[in-house]
Symmetry: C2
Subunit: 167 residues, 2 copies
DNA sequence: CCGGAATGGATGAGTGCTCAACCAGTGTTG
DNA sequence: CAACACTGGTTGAGCACTCATCCATTCCGG
């Protein structure tokens, strides 16, 4: 017998209102989800970082900027887009500024606001990194899945997003 | 027209051997996966941390230890189980030791090895945290999904694990 | 049994993230 | 238009993770 926490709690017969423990099937699904996500995210970040010197967090920022008119965006909008806190983004943009890939610019319509602007060097760095990243995603994700599984993945993701989503 | 990197690369007609860009359907699946995972992992970690003072990383360590005979495990085995580097685990165990939840013990069969041992205080902390965590997982994950979706999630996770898996 | 390679793990520097505090500019209310 | 709350963003301290390096022990070939 192990000292598994949920098991001993169940043995003790946690009365009504007690935690709704996971059954064996749920445990298995949860573990598979947790491990595969962690391993995949880790692998993708590692390959991107080692292959290009850009972490996935920075990559997301550069991508978001590259997709806008004028390659610029308000700091807080950028933070939302990157699922980042404002503080985190502010720190990250500072570091990207040191690399010369982004610069800050005060916002015309709102004196409080700042615009993060992607520089040409930043865009070039992104262009160099993108093929590396997309190849990783393909190899470790899409190449492993059938079209039905890809659809299931999208369905799952979108279902969860409706719950967790941007508010 | 935006300055989207993959689009401009496709426009330029990257010849044979160029990156295998994602099509619209794949993009959508990828984004949904990426965002939902990030948001979910974030939410679970946050609720656990705020509700119990234990981060998900620490929680995983305590769980792994609690599930073994004698509530102890070799450092490197524990690292593998937690998908952690040895260095990371070593640092983490040091911090858990400061809290009095784990202690180190030299391994009898191999003088180089160390055993991480879960203390009674550590086990108690885990017992207190487990219901909080399982409730989060249920609310934000299983309560949102149909049984078919749960099965799809397990299938996806296990498929990816076979590729990424522990070697 | 001796010497070197391999293994298990610890350590420290550098970087990134979180949280709380803070500042400047804007909106709102009388 | 003065006072105050609110918003957008930055900053610094503290914690966590990575990477390279290091030390101790064990394994292995002669």
């Amino acid at each position: 017998m192990t000292s598994d926490v949920s098991q001993s709690a169940r043995d003790a017969g946690a009365g009504g209102g007690g935690p709704r423990w996971l059954d064996a099937e749920e445990q298995r699904a949860w573990r598979a989800w947790l491990y595969s996500n962690q391993l995949l995210a880790d692998r993708l970040d590692r390959e991107l970082t080692h292959g290009t010197g850009i972490s996935h967090a920075y990559y997301e920022i550069l991508v978001a900027l590259s997709e806008t008119e004028g390659r610029m965006m308000r700091m807080s909008e950028l933070a939302d887009r990157c699922l980042s806190s404002r503080s985190r983004l502010s720190h990250a943009v500072s570091r990207l500024e040191e690399r010369g890939w982004v610069r800050r610019q005060v916002c015309a319509e709102d004196g409080r606001g700042q615009l993060a602007v992607l520089t040409d060097e930043g865009f070039a760095a992104l262009e160099a990194a993108a093929p590396v990243h997309v190849e990783s995603v393909r190899r470790h994700l899409f190449d492993q899945l059938t079209p039905r599984q890809v659809e299931a993945m999208r369905d799952l993701g979108e279902t969860l997003l409706r719950h967790l989503g941007p508010r």
